[in-house]
């Protein structure tokens, strides 16, 4: 299971920028590559660091195991970019 804590680590690992709207229930992590927005995912606001964030694997077009590896640093942003390239999800 991916938690909010994982989500924050993944956003950091992917050099995400945040978009935050006042009174919103989530912050949005925006991931750019070569000046293009290539992915985004929401991180629910609140104090529960263990809240489920299993939607992230869909948002990043990879499996949950890959996401977990991003959060524990056995995968890198470059690994993820390669995955997207192999799936023809980058220009």
């Amino acid at each position: 299971m991916l938690t909010k804590q994982d989500a924050v680590k993944i956003a950091t690992k992917l050099n995400a920028e945040y978009s935050s709207r006042k009174n919103s229930v989530h912050d949005i992590a925006l991931i750019h590559h070569k000046g293009k927005l290539v992915a985004h995912f929401g991180i629910v606001r609140g104090s529960n660091r263990d809240s489920g964030h299993n939607h992230i694997s869909k948002a990043l077009s990879v499996g949950p195991h890959f996401c977990k590896e991003l959060s524990i640093c056995t995968k890198t942003r470059e690994d993820w970019i390669k995955e997207l390239e192999q799936k023809a999800l980058l220009l």
């Binding site: 299971m1 919103s24 293009k36 629910v44 809240s51 299993n54 939607h55 869909k58 980058l90 220009l91």
Partner: protein, 133 residues
């Protein structure tokens, strides 16, 4: 409150989807109350969003949402646009998704000239649901 917000063609489509799981109060299987609600059950795993808060864009038609339980929490997905969020309950995840769609739509429109293939397809899909003029 009336069911007229649901065009006949969509009702027919939903009925086809929900043939195997008729449920009391399901919008597809024949809503008992005949009222339009914000978060309407369609069948056991599919719901519809008929209104969205936090957006100035007009929703042209209801959004079908697929919900699945993963690892003790819920993930709601607007399949057509590949947009997902998580939540602790079905109600929460639906509300989260509605809010997320509204925010992401604004972001995609603001970055319209700088979208990769995935977000570009998402904007195209959302354009079929919202009046972007």
């Amino acid at each position: 409150m009336a069911t007229s917000v649901y065009p006949t063609s969509f009702n027919l489509a939903w009925k086809k989807q929900a043939q195997t799981a008729p449920k009391k109060g399901c919008l597809a299987c024949g809503p008992a109350s005949g009222t339009a609600i914000e978060l309407g059950p369609l069948c056991s795993t599919e719901y519809v969003l008929t209104t969205l808060k936090d957006t100035t864009k007009r929703l042209l038609r209801p959004i079908t949402v697929h919900i699945e339980e993963i690892g003790g929490s819920f993930v709601a997905t607007m399949t057509e646009a590949s947009i997902s969020t998580s939540g602790e309950t079905r109600q929460e995840v639906l509300q989260n998704l509605g809010s997320y769609i509204a925010e992401v739509l604004d972001i995609l429109l603001a970055e319209r000239g700088n979208l990769g293939p995935g977000p570009y397809q998402q904007l195209l899909a959302l354009g079929r649901y919202f009046d972007l003029s």
